[in-house]
Symmetry: C2
Subunit: 452 residues, 2 copies
């Protein structure tokens, strides 16, 4: 099934592949709802001003303009494509910025802390490459508070995501967690105050290695040998338990913010050791590019597929959403559904047992039997059994082949005397059956997703 | 809950409203799958050339361009916004044109006749008005054949849609069905050969009335008084049974195509009288604006809400998709989900029993009991009971208020001795409970959608 998208960066699935994606989406939805997250969707379109509020991402945004503008088209309604106009329309590039806007707009109607999940497509005009599409689906959970948000939600969000990912047909994964306060406090403690600059350099660690990062820190941020060395020593720390705390303290740096970050990260790891053992580690090299994070930051790798990049990222943002003096701090994580599904399909981690929902094809004895066949089908559907009726009274062999090509397990026959039989076309077994009571096995009732 | 969208034409729902929309979407999906339709999604983006292939719709299309173009951006990758370029990218305005493209591209991987459902957002840059948004969700079912497609699918599609709409929390509805062959054959039979022209005039019947349509037919198409009168007599025919056939024949027009159309429409109405009584009528005024329809055409009104416009439209298209000499005729219908949901919400045809999926809030006795509370929650979730844990050990009154504001029916308490109790906060009744076995009533387990 290896096909090439007809438009580079815009993947589309075949029906059998889509069933795997649906399984992933249904599983995520179920897990999120079990944890009390409410569904919302936001419009695909934001104003450019809203999207570029945090800067540094304008290269990725798709602007909109109406192909044939009305003469009376007004600004801010997509009638103009003036890129300097903050009211011009563009497609959202993630679900966090639109969610922040939604929260501010609807604050009067929401109960805080407000927890929501949001599963939608997003668009980025980047050059497509493996694991990086221009249109892709994200599945986000976030909790947002009014004024304040207990840190416990940082812990909870990580646990919910670990549970959600564990339910998917994917290899083992690791949430790699860091804390911006910890990093910023540490850098400040050693005399490096340009936190975004240091984070940008540290973010390149996996790509260019520690020597080159040290060079960057020295050349671009004026760090001394010792400062660069300490920053790199911090970034080298990782632990599956809370031992990272002692390792950081052993570096001898004192700072209040560092201490606050250490305690926060310790809480996350402590809970994870107990409730999601082996799934989470403290990794003090995690930086996250976008700059709205203020505490917890998370990236997630599939073990053995690290080159795929992060399949789930996010963190705490205390200042993304505000309305006058009113602040709405939040914490959330975003699963890259399309990236995951692409990998599941290309590696055949999971496959669908058939290409259609149909469990039973009702065959036609002759062309006049269509209505009677629909009666049989209606009875089966009434008990939740997905059923199709043949459109033509072709030879039975051809009608069976119709089912076989789609993986439909059962074909139903009604003879001229009204006698019903159902055939399992995999075994050839054919038995008498009553449309009012016959049922397939639970295994055959719905499409099954089988994991490799 | 009457709010104004912050961007005109781009509606967004509150969590409690979204639950109603989810109910509609889940119900449609379930019905479609019971009838063997497979899910697919197509990319939101098509090339302008693909979208404008059928003409007459360019005014509605949103083109895309990257806000900050790379110098090396190549044509056809959204790097340019040259509106004359057929490789430029734009958002799809319906799901039929993208589906036709998908079928042609993936013909080698699909089993024909191929039946799919597709539920996605579409975009039209029109001036927003009541019932007409710029971003809205459509739910489509189509069956497409390879070379030929039995007419029976026209009948089946109408019946499936009638069943799907009957399952929604909406007022009574009517599928108004006509047939292009019938209309075209009739016009030809009376000497009017510009079928699109006549259809365009007839399409204005409800807006401008029969006198003005007669004038149009005469002034723009050169029709005689008698031709205009006959065309209007045809358009005035409607019947809930197959009596329309006699009414048409009584007009005395002879034409082979007319005869073919009469027989097709008769089959649809005959089946509908039996299988969806009262839901379908032959309405010979139905024209449909877009011109890719070649046989059956359908519009649907909500009884008592006719001014809302059609909530479900479509028909047979024999020439929309082709690959060289290979043709893929199809028939399908598209439900305007956003239009329906807007009306359901504004008229309160249905409401959600609570604003969150959560059935149980586990209260905290003290701040150290969070982990034990998570254990209780995990046990409940393990039996499918959506559960949240309080984030802070506030006074019980405050924790109960947290649940009450969201409509969460139950609050769970565990005292310092590990004794569990659960309180129904609507009745105040509080009883001993075991987290390993307690269950809410089936009514309270999930959010209920109650209809007015």
């Amino acid at each position: 099934m290896a096909r090439t998208a007809s438009l580079s960066g815009f993947p589309e699935w075949l029906p059998q592949e889509r069933l795997v994606e649906l399984h992933v989406l249904d599983t995520l939805r179920k897990t999120f709802e079990l944890h009390g997250f409410a569904s919302i969707e936001t419009r695909a379109v934001e104003t450019v001003g809203q999207l570029l509020r945090k800067g540094e991402i304008d290269k990725e945004v798709y602007g909109l303009s109406r192909l044939q503008e009305d003469d009376d088209a007004s600004v801010g309604e997509g009638g103009k494509s003036d890129k300097g106009d903050p009211n011009a329309l563009a497609l959202h590039f993630d679900l966090t910025v639109p969610f922040a806007r939604y929260v501010v707009e609807n604050a009067g109607y929401l109960a805080f802390p407000f927890r929501r999940y949001q599963i939608q497509k997003v668009w980025r005009g980047e050059r497509p490459q493996e694991g990086r599409a221009r249109e892709f689906t994200q599945a986000d959970i976030d909790v947002v508070g009014d004024g304040e948000l207990p840190f416990r939600y940082d812990v909870e969000i990580a646990l919910v995501i670990a549970e959600a990912l564990s339910a998917l047909p994917i290899p083992d994964f690791r949430l790699r967690i860091n804390n911006r306060k910890l990093a910023e406090g540490f850098y400040r403690g050693i005399g490096l105050t340009d936190t975004p600059g240091v984070l940008r350099s540290i973010d390149k660690l996996e790509k260019i290695g520690p020597e080159k990062v040290a060079e960057l820190l020295k050349s671009e941020l004026g760090a001394s040998d010792e400062q660069a060395s300490l920053a790199l020593q911090l970034a080298a720390i990782r632990s599956e338990d809370t031992s990272f705390v002692e390792q950081v303290r052993a570096l001898g740096v004192k700072d209040d913010l560092l201490e606050e970050g250490l305690i926060e990260l310790e809480q996350v790891i402590e809970a994870a050791v107990q409730r999601a053992p082996g799934k989470v580690l403290a990794d003090l090299s995690i930086a996250r590019g976008l700059d709205y994070y203020t505490g917890t930051v998370v990236e997630t790798v599939l073990v053995g597929h690290e080159q795929l990049g992060s399949i789930c990222s996010g963190g705490r943002y205390d200042a993304l959403a505000s309305k006058g003096n009113r602040k709405f701090p939040g914490v959330g994580l975003s699963i890259g559904v399309t990236r995951l599904v692409s990998r599941i399909l290309s590696q055949e981690f999971a496959t669908a047992s058939r290409s259609v929902p149909t469990a039973v094809l009702v065959a036609l004895n002759n062309d006049d039997s269509w209505s009677a066949a629909q009666d049989v089908a209606a009875q089966l559907r009434g008990r939740g059994i997905a059923t199709e009726v043949a459109a033509k009274a072709e030879k039975f062999g051809k009608q069976i082949k119709f089912a076989d090509r789609r993986g439909i397990p059962f074909v139903w026959f009604t003879d001229d005397d009204g006698k019903h039989q159902v055939k399992d076309i995999r075994t050839g077994e054919q038995v008498d059956a009553d449309p009012a009571s016959w049922e397939p096995s639970a295994e055959d009732l719905h499409v099954r997703i089988t994991t490799a």
